[in-house]
């Protein structure tokens, strides 16, 4: 459904981190040959070692993991800070979870993940999401867009006057988030708003940045709920 990103000459190097082996093998079976799995890990400590050794482009990361300091996926991200992929880009993380709990999602995003998808996602959408994250873009599920609208007060009508304001969404960002929450793909969002897909990606990345840096009470409260601050 998502328009495929620019095709890459080399396969995306991927590390799978999930404590359920069944789920890992399920994901492996669904991915096509444009993905190369270079490592797997079942807990936080193993994951940090594997990521440092394999230097992947993207880490597919379960939110709930045993080990580390008890913060699951967030611990892997903080423990892998500064690791770069073989092409010199920072390692990117895509969070994957069965949990709907806002604090889990917000915590892992604020720790540095570039996106969040649920485990019920189908193989093709997952491939597209991984490709997008590998290109440095952000991936928002409808549910994450809903969280964002709630957390930034955008659903209640708060809108930033200047785009750079960290604690609010700009009017355009709000529109993009609303369309994603309605189940629109990036391509459809672009068509709906008469902008290019690249512009949609820019807006989503900007929202992701705000989500990570903002000190809005709702967001910090959620992060505190996961003992992140």
């Amino acid at each position: 459904m998502i328009a495929p990103g620019p095709s890459r000459a080399t396969p995306i190097r991927l590390v799978l981190v999930d404590d359920h082996r069944m789920f890992r093998s399920g994901v492996k079976a669904e991915l096509d040959e444009s993905m190369l799995i270079v490592g797997e890990a079942a807990d936080v400590d193993e994951a940090i070692v594997v990521v440092a050794r394999a230097r992947p482009d993207v880490v597919l990361l379960d939110v709930h993991l045993p080990g580390g300091n008890g913060h699951g996926g967030s611990d892997v991200i903080t423990g892998s800070a500064g690791v770069t992929s073989e092409s010199g880009e920072p390692v990117r993380f895509l969070a994957l979870s069965v949990s709907d709990a806002a604090e889990d999602v917000i915590a892992v995003i604020r720790a540095g993940a570039r996106g969040y998808v649920t485990k019920t996602i189908d193989g093709r959408d997952l491939t597209d999401a991984i490709r997008r994250v590998a290109d440095g873009d952000a991936v928002f599920s409808p549910r994450l867009a809903g969280f964002v609208l709630d957390a930034f007060g955008a659903a209640a009508g708060e809108v930033a006057v200047v785009d750079e304001e960290l604690d609010r969404l700009s009017a355009r960002e709000r529109e993009v988030m609303r369309l994603i929450a309605r189940g629109y793909q990036y391509k459809e969002v672009a068509k709906e708003l008469f902008i290019s897909i690249k512009t949609v990606e820019t807006h989503v990345s900007s929202v992701l940045r705000k989500l990570q840096l903002s000190s809005r009470h709702e967001l910090t409260a959620w992060a505190v709920g996961r003992h992140l601050l």
Partner: protein, 441 residues
């Protein structure tokens, strides 16, 4: 995601690290309080040598007594009542009375010996004070040793066998009586200043002694109680989880196995079970039943259950559920039914409850339809969705997208939530949402 259950302990492998063992005082095979037997088992020594060592150290300035009391105070009684291995195992069924008798006799002998020894050395022990003091001490020992044995759990729970209980009470009574008599004798024997001095010292001695005896017992009682409490809480929790899993997940899994040939049914069951379990684990962000968000959630789940098509639901904001809100929920239900019947998955619902307007979007990925193509006798879309929204001061629209259809519902809060019967107050034509209203808003 980690489950809330602990993994069962892996079976102990020979050569693997032994689990940390706490020293415990065995119930059977004890002479006094089981300290020697426990220590012997813990260290892997013969009980006799341990006892001999304690006896010898008692002679060396009484160090053994102190050590014994410490160990008695700090080691818990063993829970399993298996007999200790060793030469003493024969005495496993020895009645508890015997150990008590040993204790009393031993202490008495020690005291008498000590007194005689002191007198021989020319020290005036003032037997008038000493004898009542000894009586008090004997009483206290009797009372407390009985408490230790009778196990405070049974003592507190009051469900012990009547015989054991009576015995314990009798002994407790005798001990207390002895102590009281001792104190009375002390208080009445001396007259004048010197006598008062004696009484004062004796009283302090008794209090300190009683305190010393009671303190370790109190410490252990507290420790035991806490262990027991946490254990009980854990057991209750485990039982709750087990009961819930049995009622829900196991039943659903059984159903799924029986319906393995019907993929649609399996998906429906799995989805319903997932929702139920999720609600149980995370206790749902939508608490009260009377809110708009929870009503929307309920409707979405209902439609999902009816047709087995997964619905991706996102709700932001919330407000109390009023009449107009109910109308919106009903229209939403109709739109959802329409989407799962005629559209194709994935079906997404987004409901935004804002301060001024409530908006809902239902989107599917089917071939789509135009309202003008719907025959006029079909009431679903025209009446249940568009008409209902108009009657409650809102509006609705149907849009055909490149992939699928989107039905949008819109209900201004201020106009409609107070006065719900204003036909056509904010009515708009049926096709209210041409592509550019989105952008101009």
């Amino acid at each position: 995601m980690p489950t809330p259950y602990e993994l069962p302990q892996p079976p102990s492998v020979p050569g693997a690290r032994r689990p940390v063992r706490r020293m415990e005082r065995p119930v059977h095979g004890r002479r006094l309080a089981g300290v020697c037997a426990g220590l012997a088992e813990h260290l892997g020594l013969n009980v006799r040598y341990v006892r001999l060592a304690f006896f010898l150290s008692c002679l060396a300035g009484g160090a053994g007594i102190v050590a014994y009391l410490f160990l008695w105070a700090l080691t818990p009684q063993s829970l399993d009542s298996g007999p200790v291995a060793g030469p003493d195992a024969v005495g496993a069924s020895r009645p508890a009375n015997e150990s008590l008798r040993n204790l009393v006799i031993g202490l008495g002998l020690l005291a008498v010996g000590g007194v005689f020894f002191a007198q021989q050395q020319g020290v005036n022990l003032r037997l008038g004070v000493m004898i009542p003091l000894l009586a008090v001490a004997a009483g206290v020992v009797l009372a407390w040793s009985k408490l230790d044995e009778a196990e405070r759990g049974r003592w507190l729970a009051r469900d012990m066998g009547s015989g054991g209980r009576r015995g314990a009470l009798v002994r407790l009574g005798i001990g207390i009586a002895l102590a009281t008599v001792g104190v009375i004798v002390l208080a009445t024997q001396g007259r004048g200043l010197a006598g008062l001095w004696d009484v004062g010292i004796a009283a302090v001695a008794v209090l300190v002694g009683a305190g010393l005896i009671a303190a370790p017992w109190g410490v252990r009682l507290w420790g035991d109680l806490r262990t027991e409490q946490t254990q009980r809480i854990r057991e209750t929790e485990r039982a709750d989880i087990a009961a819930h899993l049995h009622d829900s997940v196991l039943q659903t899994l059984a159903l799924i196995q029986r319906k393995a040939g019907e993929p649609a049914e399996v998906v429906r069951l799995a989805r319903a079970q997932e929702r139920e379990l999720r609600g149980w684990l995370y206790a749902g962000p939508l608490g009260s039943q009377a809110s708009l968000a929870s009503a929307v959630t309920e409707v979405a789940h209902e439609v999902e259950d009816l047709h087995g098509v997964p619905i991706e639901l996102v709700v932001t904001g919330d407000r109390p559920l009023e009449l107009a809100g109910t109308a919106l929920v009903q229209a939403l239900r109709e739109a959802l039914l329409n989407a799962v019947r005629h559209g194709a998955p994935p079906v997404s619902v987004y409901v935004e409850v804002g301060p001024e307007v409530v908006e809902a979007f239902v989107r599917d990925h089917g071939p789509g339809f135009e309202l003008t193509e719907v025959p006029p006798d079909r009431f679903g879309v025209r009446e249940s969705i568009l008409g209902r929204m108009r009657r409650h001061g809102g509006s609705a629209g149907v849009r055909r997208l490149e992939h699928g259809t989107e039905i949008s519902l819109r209900l201004p809060v201020t106009a409609s939530f107070e006065s719900t019967t204003q036909p056509g107050a904010l009515a708009q034509p049926d096709m209210v949402t041409p592509p550019d209203t989105e952008r101009s808003r």
